[in-house]
């Protein structure tokens, strides 16, 4: 959960020099943003629903691609947590033609692996697994995998990109979305279209069970990191009903039971063009991007998405305090349920977070890191773990010895209570707004950064201009409204506190 807010921007014609050649060759249906308070993004939607956002930047001959799907762990099912993330790993394992020596031969071999794996999982999940049987089933799975492996061109997808000169190839899964990113030299535009259209139309989830082991290692890595342990504990205790309860990586017991069949069903349900936005930023001609997207992505079949009506989290009635015993220095997280990003109170809450933590003149730093020297650091985040549904506004902090996490908790709450009673000064708000505005300009410096921002906002919040619009909303928030929002949401009964401490 990167700290990303705070940026709004109304600097005049901020992108004037970015546009090399605004050709009038855009096809019908494409539109260019002309309002100078926004970057000159070209928007276009394919008939199958895939949305394109294109932004020209020409300093270096490179292009950054960001494909965002509105599917994350929140869309998983009980007992199958972690599926969105495991699928993201599988999306690097090729297609019917990539990573394969011949899919027709491979298909029965993959079927055999799946049968063997499911038999093993069933035995493992049984009331009294027999060690002998398990051993046999494991050997059978290994044997089947060996046969299937012989038909694989291993890592071919990755090797193609390596040869092309990729930079920053990655993918990320959150509870809200899954994103696929890569940057390439600009004369590889069509190459990207060829590979990625195939990737999402014809994915083959080979080498599934070994990749599942890789993900288990990823989970183990998180279990060794105190900060990840705290975030997971916070989410799973603050949410009882809504699926934000589940960690994105999944519970280990769930990961152990995920099958390729599960992942294929998930792929079919959510990896459709009408659930995706593609941002292309860099040294490109928008008309060419659109023409190539039409050529390679238009036969990707759209389908209606599943119902996504998840149970709402009931109001929290009493304070929850969870103590985690872990071999590390003390730290804490305080999560308050917030009303969601589409609720009008959210802007005052965002401003409240910033009043508390914006810079060394922010209240936490000035009074608790410096002043009383209670904290090593203290931050406030408007929205964790996601933004699609009401989530948590979180204070994250670490005490400085000899002070304890409990002392720091009391001091943080005292600062919050002060804010509830006394509205912030105009200077504090203007500083925050200036920073938001400057960030909105600076975020345009990085092609991959702005690509991620545009695609995410379009796909999740419904408008790539979302951050700029938030900036306008933040300007309208009065000092009094910030205190009112703090009083409404930052209450004892609405909070979940996670305190991490060394075992005694």
């Amino acid at each position: 959960m990167a700290f990303s807010i705070i940026t709004a921007g109304t600097a005049p014609t901020i992108m004037a020099d970015m546009i090399k050649s605004r050709k009038d060759t855009l096809p019908p249906g494409a539109s260019v943003e002309k309002d100078p308070k926004y970057p000159a993004v070209v928007s276009y939607t394919l008939k199958n629903g895939l949305k394109l956002l294109i932004l020209e930047k020409h300093f270096v001959p490179t292009i950054s691609f960001t494909m965002i799907f509105k599917v994350g762990n929140v869309d998983g099912t009980q007992g199958k947590t972690g599926l969105a993330h495991l699928f993201e790993h599988m999306a690097f394992k090729g297609t019917k033609t990539i990573n394969s020596t011949g899919y027709e031969k491979e298909k029965p071999a993959l079927y055999k692996v799946e049968k063997a794996a499911q038999a093993l999982i069933a035995e493992e999940a049984s009331a009294a697994p027999s060690p002998e049987k398990l051993k046999k089933l494991r050997a059978a799975l290994e044997e089947a995998e060996k046969e299937a492996d012989a038909l694989v061109v291993s890592d071919e997808y990755l090797k193609i990109y390596t040869t092309l000169g990729e930079s920053g190839m990655n993918a990320m899964t959150s509870t809200d979305y899954t994103g696929y990113v890569v940057s390439l030299p600009s004369n590889r535009l069509e190459a990207w279209m060829v590979i990625e259209s195939d990737r999402f139309k014809n994915a083959v989830l080979r080498e599934f069970y070994r990749e599942r082991s890789v993900v288990m290692e990823e989970r183990r890595m998180g279990e060794a990191e105190p900060s990840r342990v705290m975030w997971e504990t916070l989410g799973s205790n603050a949410f009882t009903t809504h699926p934000y309860h589940n960690p994105t990586i999944g519970w280990m017991e769930d990961i152990k039971r995920l099958t390729r069949t599960d992942a294929e069903a998930f792929f079919k349900a959510f990896y459709v063009p009408n659930n995706a936005t593609l941002a292309v930023v860099g040294d490109v001609d928008p008309a060419e991007v659109i023409a190539l997207a039409e050529k390679y992505f238009s036969d990707w079949e759209g389908r209606p998405l599943p119902e996504r009506d998840y149970p709402a989290e009931p109001p929290q009635k009493s304070e929850k305090i969870i103590k985690v015993s872990f071999k590390a220095q003390p730290a804490l997280r305080i999560g308050f349920h917030n009303p969601g990003m589409d609720h009008p109170d959210i802007y005052a809450l965002i401003m409240a977070c910033e009043v508390l933590t914006n810079g060394k003149t922010g209240r936490f730093y000035k009074n608790l890191v410096e002043g009383r020297e209670l904290a090593l650091h203290a931050w406030a985040y408007p929205s964790y773990p996601g933004s699609r549904y009401p989530s948590l506004t979180v204070i994250a902090a670490a005490p400085k010895a000899p002070h304890t996490a409990e002392e720091l908790d009391a001091a943080l709450m005292a600062e919050v209570e002060k804010l509830q009673k006394e509205p912030p000064t105009r200077w504090e708000l203007d500083k925050i707004l200036n920073n938001y505005e400057a960030e909105m300009i600076k975020q345009l410096e990085s092609n991959s950064g702005i690509g991620m921002n545009l695609a995410q906002n379009e796909q999740l919040m419904g408008d790539w201009r979302y951050d700029w619009k938030v900036g306008e909303e933040l300007r309208r928030v009065s000092p009094g409204e910030i205190s009112i929002a703090a009083a409404k949401y930052f209450t004892r009964e609405n909070r979940t506190v996670v305190i991490l401490k060394e075992p005694r």
Binding site: N187, A191, E223, K400, K442
Partner: protein, 456 residues
């Protein structure tokens, strides 16, 4: 030779268009020298109304006195925070934060840095502060205490995340805890630093003739920005900088295993071998060898340890150059129950690359990877001009950056084999492990004589 996981028939998709090369000649920018020896690199770029500037100060954590390790870092960290002759600390924070500008300084292992970012309209005000921060820091006593306390707290927390601690501790054992390449600050060395030490450290290293500045952004012209810099830094007197003598690196070169017992979910492995001195031309074949071995998800280590065996999420290798011997490092995080298996596989991969010629196709792919992605070293004009300044700082020959691609393109399988054979000696590698040995699949003693260390 057959590498499992390395297909002979890796191919581009049939529908792939014909691919041209990537030919990017990075702009040179402007280089100027002020009368007092301050070197300035400039690259005007009016894409956005933002200005970035950084200074390389010839200093580093390796230059600290042995009894005061942390002095350079504390000095750098207090340049702004401790206030200046002209500005009180609060005044600086209020001004910069209201303008959404930043002035930050830090101390690296062998370089000091001071960065400025601001909107074009605020350059004058922010540059005034920046210049005073570099030239006339006041080291306010209250801020010195705060900074020291923060650094002491960071020491208390340095082992919280074993996945990070393992690299620092491995290097400490590799170079020796009292060698500047391996040392770390301790409670006693931080407490030994006085305010006078900070002033003296600043007075010695922060001199115009010891600094290279790089700037890019939306200034009107090179002349204008040079004038602004001259107006602020022109009267800053030169000084004779005294550098300590760094003792030569002495490495054992024989197999040693270090183990820190810790009951954590994952086990962390670092393998270290002797690397190169900074200007050794072997860096080109070594770069290719590392790309093949552990450079990305399709490298041999990732392909074997991660994809084929499913033993790790994180596994990679790289090499670091230093004025004296640098190092080659491999990293892996694995289940304690597969620690021995992962270690064996990593050792096997180093052994293979140093004994068997890599297929020409694999060497070509590694070359293509670096040559074709070369342009990504300069995503912005500021990144480019900073890189140019860094090469002068580290004493590279003038054409280093512009000839880099050509020099790399010359590397062939024979050069990779020769260099790997010369530099990778897994039988003499140091292995460093943090994890719960009660769960290990094999005792570490099977990998060599084990020294047990305590986490501290």
């Amino acid at each position: 030779m057959n590498f499992p996981g390395l297909p002979a028939n890796f191919a581009m998709p049939a529908a792939m268009p014909k691919l041209g090369g990537v030919n990017f000649k990075p702009p040179r920018g402007t280089r100027a020298v002020l009368g007092n020896g301050l070197v300035v690199y400039l690259l005007k770029d009016s894409t956005l109304p933002v200005i970035h500037l950084t200074a390389y100060i010839r200093a580093g954590k390796i230059n600290d006195p042995a009894g005061k390790i942390g002095l350079g870092e504390m000095t750098a960290g207090l340049l702004k925070d401790g206030g200046t002759l002209k500005y009180k600390p609060e005044e600086i924070d209020r001004t910069l934060e209201f303008l959404a500008a930043s002035v930050e300084s830090s101390m690296g292992i062998e370089e000091g840095r001071a960065d400025l970012t601001c909107l074009k309209k605020d350059l004058d005000a922010v540059l005034d502060i920046y210049a005073d921060v570099l030239m006339h820091p006041a080291f306010d006593p209250g801020k010195v205490k705060l900074r020291r306390d923060e650094m002491l707290e960071m020491i208390r927390r340095r082992n919280d995340d074993p996945g990070r601690a393992v690299v620092r501790e491995a290097l400490r054992s590799f170079y020796g805890p009292s060698h500047p390449y391996g040392w770390r600050s301790e409670e006693a060395t931080l407490k030994a630093v006085t305010r006078e030490d900070l002033k003296a450290c600043h007075d010695n290293y922060y001199r115009p003739n010891n600094i290279i500045i790089a700037a890019a952004g939306d200034f009107s012209s090179d002349e204008e920005l040079l004038g602004e810099l001259e107006a602020r830094f022109g009267a800053w007197p030169r000084g004779e900088v005294k550098f300590p003598v760094i003792p030569p690196v002495r490495l054992k070169g024989e197999r040693q295993v270090f183990h820190i017992q810790k009951d954590v979910a994952q086990t962390y492995i670092v393998m270290l071998q002797k690397g190169l001195k900074r200007h050794d031309p072997l860096e080109y074949p070594l770069t290719i060898a590392n790309e093949i071995l552990g450079g990305g998800l399709s490298s041999r280590l990732a392909s074997e340890v991660r994809s084929r065996l499913g033993l790790a999420y994180t596994v990679y290798s790289y090499s670091v150059k230093k004025p004296d011997y640098g190092y080659s490092l491999a990293y892996c995080g694995t289940n304690p129950e597969t620690c021995g298996q992962a270690l064996s596989e990593i050792l096997r991969q180093y052994d293979l690359i140093s004994r068997e010629p890599a297929p020409a196709e694999e060497v070509k792919r590694a070359r293509d990877s670096i040559v074709n992605s070369f342009v990504f070293r300069f995503p912005t004009p500021f990144d480019l001009i900073t890189e140019r300044a860094s090469y002068e700082y580290h004493g590279y020959e003038a054409g280093y950056l512009d000839n880099y691609v050509e020099n790399l393109s010359k590397v062939d399988p024979a050069a990779v084999l020769e260099t790997s054979g010369k530099l990778f000696k897994p039988e003499g590698a140091m292995l460093f492990v943090i994890g719960n040995s009660k769960k290990f699949d094999k005792p570490l003693s099977e990998f060599g004589p084990v020294t047990r260390l305590k986490e501290d």
